[in-house]
């Protein structure tokens, strides 16, 4: 007999009448996920979403105690690490999930590129994904400074210095980010605002658009398997349960990494100290850092670093526009040039990153 105050059927009717629950259920019921030898890559989107949710939750928990000023930032992080219950775990999970997120985004990016999943009608899905990757880079870069320790301070100093190599707007951009000619407490405040407001808000809107487009167009089937038998599995519950299982394994991985390799506090930042030897950016910027180091000081009379930044920007733009440039894939034909470019980019990225890490 239903309770007078808790009638589930009544509540369900009430909600169904006001929210598009029925329609959503229908969409999810009819949603299918292709099954083929590359199906494993379909989990990457879900992994990124999951890690993003972990980022938001742990980020909000850190915000309860973090104080974004030059005098108090380091002390507040120290307080989180030593006095707040499970503060060390929350901070470590936040740091590790950000690294895993960017790692997953790289795999997502390369797999999408190599499987040509950007071909019509998924041009905007690709472009929004690229922008999401850039925003995540920004979140990583701005978040790295917030503990205000020695390593963070000098990595930011070096990172923002590189920006001045961008032709025409470089110096202005550097000063805008730093809030002056040097990395100071003003930089910390700016990075904090970018890290918790500007970038997450942009990311939420773009991620919403990205997900909407994925729902609209469904999962892309690689060309090599498109012509063969079109097998698929229902999204609900088959794929969703598999997704949840992967998320659980990632949670176990996050806890393991946080336990065995906790994020350290480091030494407090000292703007007057000399830059420590061997200062390096986070691993996901290493490929750019190493590439710029490889260039000679001058190429054809232009400063090597300026040319390098220009080249990287141009490559980024071409990749962003690849759905419009790869005409073969758009017409359902093989595109060996783009495949070669994709594998070359992957090899260069891995080689430069490994070189940077081992150096």
């Amino acid at each position: 007999m239903p309770s007078k105050y808790f009638d589930i059927a009544k509540i369900s009717r009430y909600l169904h009448h006001r929210l598009p629950i029925g329609e959503t259920k229908e969409i999810l019921k009819s949603k299918e996920v292709p099954v083929h030898k590359f199906s494993l890559f379909y989990y990457l989107g879900g992994i990124c979403l999951y890690l993003l949710i972990v980022q938001v939750i742990t980020g909000i928990l850190l915000l309860l105690y973090y104080s974004p000023t030059e005098d108090s930032a380091y002390q507040s992080v120290k307080f989180i690490m030593t006095k707040v219950s499970f503060g060390w775990l929350v901070r470590s999970i936040h740091a590790w999930s950000s690294n895993l997120l960017i790692g997953a985004l790289f795999v997502h990016f390369f797999s999408t590129f190599l499987l040509k999943a950007y071909r019509p009608p998924r041009e905007f899905t690709w472009m929004s994904g690229m922008m999401l990757l850039l925003i995540c880079f920004g979140l990583g870069f701005t978040g790295y400074l917030l503990p205000w320790n020695e390593l963070a301070f000098f990595a930011t100093k070096v990172g923002t210095e590189i920006m001045s190599a961008i032709p025409l707007v470089g110096d202005t951009l550097k000063e805008f980010l730093r809030g002056g000619p040097n990395v100071t407490g003003v930089t910390l405040t700016r990075f904090f605002a970018l890290h918790i407001w500007v970038l997450p808000l942009s990311l939420a809107m773009l991620a919403g658009l990205h997900l909407l487009l994925v729902q609209r167009h469904g999962m892309s089937r690689p060309m090599s398997v498109e012509v063969k038998q079109k097998r698929s599995m229902p999204f609900l519950p088959h794929f969703l349960l598999r997704d949840l299982n992967v998320w659980l394994l990632f949670l176990a991985a996050l806890i393991t990494l946080s336990f065995y390799f906790p994020t350290h506090l480091g030494e407090p930042a000292d703007p007057l100290a000399p830059t420590p030897l061997g200062i390096k950016p986070e691993w996901y910027f290493l490929f750019m850092f190493q590439l710029l180091k490889l260039l000679p000081s001058h190429i054809l009379g232009i400063e090597g670093e300026h040319l390098g930044i220009l080249g990287l920007g141009l490559i980024g733009l071409l990749i962003f526009l690849v759905p419009f440039l790869d005409r073969n894939s758009a017409q359902g034909k093989k595109s060996p040039l783009l495949t070669t470019i994709g594998w070359t980019m992957l090899a260069v990225f891995v080689a430069l990153t490994l070189w940077g890490v081992l150096e």
Partner: protein, 385 residues
């Protein structure tokens, strides 16, 4: 003739690289004569003040003509001291020169060089602080040269192995004393037995204060013992250790105090207090280092360990009071801090164990959930259409 020219050429080269040539002073500054004369015989005419090569015993007075004249010297360097000659005259070297007419004793050129005299601030100068032990050893390390003098010639070998020699010559610490740091330079002489503490106090002032107020001061005066040197030695001063207090091979207290006497009991009491503090610090340090390798934050106990170590240093310095109560009190304060650091280390170790238990439990729960989910997924079948 050719050999003379070569020798002359070397003298000129040496001189041009020296301090005098840089200030515009020529050969005539020391040798006299007329540098403007066109003919060599006119230039080196005794009538115009040419003195040629000065006799060794005349050198200090010759250098003093300029270097002891404040009015003359201020034109070149207003801050340079002009008391070198008067100090030299009261030095061991000066006395032997003027009173004993010792023809081998050091004069200005023995240490500073002849034509290649350089400022003592220049690292290539024979009187640069890091070169002084080698300069002094040229004579004082040569047993043949020093024959007939009642002083040893092994000072340099001993100094090189001493804590001061290692600091200056191996570590390059220019604040560490060279020979001149204790003996003086122009006024160089053996320190008076009752002035040794004052000599050492140029750097170790706190230890001197403690020593002067201690019962040892009167005893040393009575027996004319050379104060610090009695326990620490002179040229071969080694880095101190607790073994210096009481130990079979290195102990110094037992040299004067027999077993069971008041002095020996005091030494044993001080050693016990310091050993107890060292032991507590080592225990705490081992634990703190262990938990740090687990990735735990050990800033607080490390700070306490530094405080405990300060107390250890302080209690070791207080040995110079030769009062066991003072040493024991500070050592006990340090031990209390070290025990607190160890307790904090234990607390952090417990936190780590709690985390490990939590980690194992949560991973097991997650893996069980994952296994259940896998069973559920399999029960659904593949449903591949």
């Amino acid at each position: 003739m050719e050999e003379i020219d070569e020798a002359h050429e070397k003298i000129v080269t040496d001189f041009l690289g020296g301090a005098h040539a840089k200030k515009g002073i020529g050969c005539e500054g020391c040798h006299g004569g007329d540098p403007k004369a066109e003919d060599a015989s006119d230039a080196m005419d005794p009538e115009v003040g040419y003195i040629g090569i000065p006799a060794r015993h005349e050198i200090p007075a010759m250098c003093a003509k300029c270097h002891a004249d404040p009015n003359y010297m201020r034109a070149y360097n207003p801050n340079i001291s002009t008391d070198q000659y008067s100090k030299y005259l009261i030095s061991g070297h000066g006395k032997r020169l003027t009173k004993s007419h010792d023809s081998k004793v050091a004069v200005c050129t023995s240490c500073h060089g002849t034509h290649d005299i350089k400022s003592s601030n220049e690292p290539s100068s024979s009187t640069y602080v890091m070169n002084i032990p080698f300069t002094c050893a040229k004579c004082h390390g040569d047993s043949t040269y020093m024959a007939g003098r009642n002083i040893p010639t092994n000072q340099f070998e001993e100094y090189v192995q001493s804590v001061h020699g290692e600091a200056l010559l191996k570590k390059g610490d220019r604040s560490a004393p060279s020979c001149a740091g204790c003996h003086g330079s122009h006024e160089a002489r053996r320190p008076d037995p009752q002035g040794v503490a004052n000599t050492c106090a140029q750097c170790h002032s706190y230890n001197r204060e403690l020593f002067i107020a201690s019962p040892h001061k009167a005893a040393h005066e009575k027996h004319k013992y050379p104060e610090c040197e009695v326990c620490h030695g002179n040229h071969n001063i080694k880095k101190t250790s607790d073994d210096l207090l009481v130990s079979e091979s290195l102990g110094v207290c037992q040299k004067c105090h027999d077993p069971g006497t008041k002095g020996m009991v005091a030494a044993l009491t001080m050693r016990a207090a310091i050993d107890s503090l060292s032991y507590s610090i080592e225990n705490a340090k081992r634990l703190v280092e262990l938990v740090r390798t687990y990735g735990m934050n050990t800033e607080d106990p490390e700070y306490q360990l530094r405080q405990a170590h300060d107390k250890l240093v302080q209690s070791r310095a207080l040995i110079h009071t030769f009062t066991p109560d003072k040493v024991s009190l500070v050592a006990l304060e340090g031990k209390t801090i070290a025990v607190q650091a160890e307790d904090q280390g234990k607390e952090i170790l417990e936190q780590y164990n709690f985390r490990r238990r939590g980690f194992i439990f949560s991973v097991i729960v997650i893996l069980v959930l994952s296994a259940l989910l896998t069973v559920k997924i399999r029960s659904l079948g593949r449903h591949i259409g």
